[in-house]
Symmetry: C2
Subunit: 330 residues, 2 copies
């Protein structure tokens, strides 16, 4: 059946059925009314929104509908993670071509629900409109943890250590593999594919950063150098990265060799957290977080992000970080 | 300058400059971080989202960029109005073709800010992505008025009067005029154009409905009959409409004659409020609201929306209300 046969009403009902009853009993009105409604407690509210456009942000040529659903929620949750927040509610707007198969929409919803359920997020609202290609717009609402402010891009200070969670480059390597149809053994191919198509946002880790007193963070969506540059501009500082300390994903080293470093520095979409903190805080974070945490450099007063090799020689990265429009270095 | 030259970062800065500093000092983090953050008080939170796609929901062939910006915020505010709520914060995601002129994006933002400012709504977050055509996705967050629940689609009860604010059909008449390039005198053309391109959501009126104890409401986006049908299905009831009581917009009668009734019943996008209430409540609402309020029928136990003429004869409306996908009656 095509979505034009099921209609907008049926598609919204399908979403409501797929996501099920709200898990949180503070939700009073979920999918199906003019707006969602829930009992909110006093505190610091967080809200983020992001849109994924077919053939710009994803391709149904290599991603399954379920993976696209998963990722669309994951990348938005990652923004809440970067604020050290607790995600609570999600709203989803879909743009769909009229001849889209309803079975595929159902798979998309399932992927969304799967990722949302992982972090106890209720999808409380949805809208479906006709569009020439698939457009997925998500909004996630949440809050900071009790008595803690949100982590921001603007709180980095000279002397802070620059830390990243997990390892980098696997998502960009996965994209390169899928786009260029590169062949690797089963284990490598599966790891890279999942890194790109099913990222796991660092929601719990972000909250732990806030508890440990970290103030400055950003999630790595556009690439380490590009995102660090944004954080530095927002904070009015600069940064030095010691490239031999950058945690390039093991599978990327195996599959892409020396090119792995460029993927880790400029690739994007790893959805790891980059944060800065004094060394005593970062030491405590390192020993407490359930994932690897690596010091990769330091914040300095002078503007700009510098990449230094073991000998202290500055390296140039041709095209570090990307821009949704121009793919140029900023 | 094209948006590909200004880049994503510049476009987000342009949005931040255009909307200015938050009017509400509870906003702690506005545009430019991973998420927005504000001090929330305890109560009932409301959230709604809607997306407008170029050449599906609007055409830049006849609408100005500023009008498109205005309307994209207005239609979302209308959903909060239909819940009787107070809108507070907005998030905007734009999909833009790479060769879009930055001056046009600036006009779009101005139109958004203008409408948002009208109701003291702060645009606190935004994202810009590349897309093959203009896609505007808005999310509005708000709250119910103190000690009042939200108005819902599911609270209509048999015996309730069915009421509408304002008058109907002018938006659909405006769309017909613009699409078919119909010619009318200056006054008529201006009225119809503005009805379609610059709707004014009934935000204040919605809050007054909640204060007066109204429980059931919906905003008229898809057409009177179609939207009333949705409200009836959600409430498990039916409705009778006395068509001679339907307030067809005066200018529509002047310009479209008898066809005006069909535009009022099935045209859509008037963004008036339809609500149901016992006659004592609806009488009080009628005398208190600053806009016309008209009784057009009643809620009955039997499912279905019936249109009755003066003699009580049931009329059939060929294509009443529309569906974003199938344009079929539901």
């Amino acid at each position: 059946m095509k979505v034009s046969e099921l209609g907008e009403f049926g598609l919204i009902e399908l979403l409501a059925r797929t996501v099920g009853k709200p898990r949180d009993d503070s939700v009073l009105i979920g999918i199906g009314d003019d707006a969602a409604c829930w009992r909110a407690s006093a505190g610091l509210a967080l809200a983020t929104t992001d849109t994924l456009v077919e053939n710009v942000h994803f391709s149904l040529g290599y991603a399954t509908w379920r993976e696209v659903g998963w990722k669309s929620v994951a990348v938005n949750l990652s923004d809440i993670a970067a604020m050290g927040g607790v995600p609570r509610h999600a709203l989803v707007t879909l743009g769909l071509p009229k001849d889209t198969d309803v079975a595929n929409v159902s798979k998309l919803y399932k992927g969304m629900a799967e990722m949302a359920n992982t972090f106890d997020v209720d999808i409380v609202g949805g809208d479906v409109v006709a569009a020439p290609q698939v457009v997925i717009s998500l909004t996630i609402l949440g809050e900071t943890i009790k008595n803690r402010k949100a982590l921001t891009r603007s709180a980095a200070a000279p002397g802070d250590e620059i830390m990243v969670t997990g390892s980098l480059g696997a998502s960009a390597a996965g994209l390169a593999m899928l786009n260029r149809e590169l062949e690797f053994n089963y284990h490598i191919a599966k790891t890279l594919r999942e890194a790109h198509l099913k990222p796991m946002p660092r929601v719990v880790e972000g909250q732990m950063l806030a508890r440990h007193g970290v103030k400055a963070a950003i999630d790595l969506s556009d690439g380490l150098v590009g995102d660090l540059d944004k954080l530095c501009i927002a904070s009015g500082v600069g940064a030095r990265i010691y490239i031999e300390q950058v945690p390039v994903h093991e599978t990327v080293v195996q599959s892409f060799g020396v090119a792995g470093l460029t993927l880790a520095l400029a690739g994007g979409e790893d959805y790891e957290l980059l944060f800065t903190a004094s060394s005593d805080i970062s030491d405590r974070v390192k020993s407490d977080l359930p994932c690897p945490v690596t010091a990769i450099g330091e914040i300095v007063p002078e503007a700009g992000v510098k990449l230094l090799d073991e000998g202290g020689i500055e390296l140039q990265l041709g095209d570090a970080g990307w821009d949704h429009f121009s793919k140029r270095k900023r």
